[in-house]
């Protein structure tokens, strides 16, 4: 009697796992399927030709391009420092870098407004210099940078920390300065991890909504990104909103897919690790 009962238990347990997985995957896939079925797919190109959508694409492309340059440009040295040096306050600095991950986007937006708005901490001196940021395209850039940066920096810290210190030491004893060691050794060896972090930050940046609408507003052609356009088109044209959704799904999906293809190609052709699947689950 014992073995059959144990077998039945195993089958029941596997059944529960399979059921839960089935329900979960259906729930995740349903909205994606609905996006593509609710609007005739042939109409999507013409719906995306709408002037408001074209403006939103332009704003999103411009602001995210600048924000990604800022994130990678400033985030890389920050991550390298935090990963390779120990100093008092390092833990605090890392916590600060990670804070936007858990901060509600609307709070990020109101914080940015308080800091850079008229009479704000940084806004007052900037205003005196004739620079006004809130409700401009630059406000979108700042909102995206603030909210998306930890996705890159966290991953970059892990990638730099994973580089064997012996390689860095070896480069130094071979006559390389710290800067040359960074460029020739640390950066190439961490590249796969940096790319994974950038993919996450890019996806988060394109999807930015809460901080942007609070800090930058929803002005067509100026601060209205694709996600804000979806929100506005809900009232004007549901089909246009759906089309934008399809555009963003295709964009995010192809970025993720091309990264995965790239990393599996790298894994097979070189010895450096490509840690997307392993690290994305811990950082997202």
């Amino acid at each position: 009697m014992q073995p059959p009962r144990a077998g039945a238990g195993t089958v029941a347990f596997t059944g529960i796992l399979a059921l839960a997985t089935g329900v979960g995957l259906t729930f995740l896939a349903l909205p994606l399927v609905a996006l593509f079925t609710e609007v005739p797919i042939g109409d999507v190109p013409s719906l995306l030709g709408d002037a408001a959508v074209r403006d939103a694409i332009a704003v999103t492309a411009r602001t995210n391009a600048i924000a990604n340059v800022l994130i990678v440009g400033a985030g890389t040295p920050v991550a390298y420092l935090l990963a390779t040096r120990s100093f008092p306050g390092r833990t605090l600095a890392i916590t600060l870098v990670e804070l936007p991950l858990v901060l509600p986007p609307a709070v990020a937006g109101i914080g940015l407004l308080a800091a850079f708005g008229a009479g704000g901490l940084a806004g007052a001196p900037l205003g005196d210099a004739g620079i006004v940021l809130p409700f401009t395209e630059w406000a979108v850039v700042l909102a995206v940078t603030f909210v998306a940066s930890p996705f890159y920096v966290r991953q970059a810290i892990a990638a730099f920390a994973a580089v064997d210190p012996a390689y860095v030491d070896a480069a130094r004893t071979l006559g390389a300065s710290p800067a040359r060691t960074f460029a020739r050794i640390s950066l190439p060896l961490a590249a796969a991890g940096l790319l994974a972090g950038w993919v996450l930050a890019f996806a988060r940046g394109v999807g930015e909504f809460g901080a942007t609408i609070v800090f930058a507003g929803n002005v067509r052609g100026e601060t209205q990104t694709l996600t804000l356009a979806i929100y506005e088109q809900l009232d004007a044209s549901f089909d246009v909103a759906l089309s934008i959704g399809i555009l963003l799904v295709v964009l995010s999906g192809s970025v993720l897919l091309s990264y995965k293809l790239l990393s599996s190609w790298r894994r097979s052709s070189s010895t450096s690790p490509a840690p997307f699947a392993r690290t994305s689950s811990t950082s997202a």
Binding site: D164, Y167, D169, A170, R172, T173, L174, G175
Partner: protein, 319 residues
């Protein structure tokens, strides 16, 4: 020059300090008249400003670069010459991940030499290798080091590697240099019990009392009493090497020869030699002699040695 000692006693730290990867608390590091570090004068040159070539224990070859790129990282001028001299020219386009242990070591050596260093540092150069490739690589390294004519400091935990690769050997324990001497001198006059046992000697603890005629008599903890030609008093160690012990079936005829008797606990053949263990004492004898004497486990034997070979050393309490 080799630094030998057990793991975790600071041998690698010495190399890292010389290379500039770690600043010592005090002291001075100089190559010829070129001062690299001087704590009292606050001189601490960065690694790239020191003329060193360091071969890391696991070689630390850059995994994202070809063999050629690894070697030319240190200096591009002599790359082809070095690849040819170390017999790795045919591997120039390979990535380090595809090389064997011996090949990796040669790449690491070529890379360290590419900078034309004033001193070569080798951290456990043979420990990352399999036992069966080790002897061959050791011989190659021996030839290379003698051809280079470059000052070299190597760190190892294996006394055999040290004697094969270095003229002078420093024994380091717990961060302190116990003795620096050529290998033969370390064996002839080990300064303390640790050096004696590390170089392969037996060390027997006991209490010594000076003899009026010179030398000393030592009552060993194990029971027997032996004589040494060297002076000593109080707690001492008596060091004697396996090849100085004679295995005999009868007690010594002449008075004045030391003898320790007991049953053979273990017999281990090593080539044409046999290592015979009696109690804590290991003797080494010719395999033919062992056969002639009919030695086997449990045979009652006498291990004989001359008082001149019974060196008095400072005792070290080994746990």
């Amino acid at each position: 020059m080799a630094l030998v000692g057990p793991s975790g006693t600071g041998k690698t730290t010495v190399l890292r300090a010389i290379a500039g990867l770690r600043a010592p608390d005090r002291g001075r590091i100089a190559l010829g008249g070129d001062v690299w570090f001087d704590a009292s004068r606050r001189i601490d040159r960065p690694p790239e400003a020191r003329s060193v070539g360091l071969v890391f224990q696991e070689y630390a070859l850059f995994p994202h670069m070809s063999v050629r790129a690894n070697v030319s990282f240190g200096g591009a001028a002599r790359v082809d010459d070095l690849l040819a001299r170390l017999g790795i020219a045919h591997l120039a386009a390979e990535r380090p991940g595809r090389l064997s242990g011996g090949e990796r070591q040669r790449v690491a050596l070529a890379r360290a030499l590419a900078r034309d260093p004033g001193v070569l540092l080798l951290d456990e150069p043979l420990s990352a290798l399999d036992a069966h490739t080790r002897a061959g690589v050791r011989a190659q390294l021996q030839d290379l080091l003698s051809r280079l004519g470059l000052p070299a400091i190597l760190v190892t935990h294996d006394f055999g590697d040290a004697t094969a690769l270095a003229d002078r050997i420093g024994v380091i324990v717990d961060g302190r240099l116990r003795q620096v001497a050529p290998a033969a001198e370390l064996v002839r006059h080990p300064r303390d019990a640790f050096v004696a046992s590390f170089t392969g000697g037996n060390v027997l603890a006991g209490d010594a009392r000076p003899l009026p005629a010179g030398g000393a008599e030592v009552r060993l903890d194990a029971g027997a009493t032996v004589r040494s030609a060297e002076a000593g008093e109080g707690r001492v160690g008596v060091a004697v090497y396996p090849w100085e012990l004679e295995v005999a079936l009868e007690p010594p005829a002449a008075n004045g020869v030391n003898a320790i008797a007991g049953p053979i606990a273990a017999l281990a053949p090593e080539g044409d030699r046999v290592r015979v263990r009696v109690g804590a004492l290991v003797a080494e004898c010719d395999a033919r002699d062992a056969k002639r004497l009919g030695l086997r486990r449990g045979s009652h034997v006498h291990l004989l040695f001359d008082p001149a070979n019974a060196r008095i050393v400072h005792p070290v309490d080994t746990p």
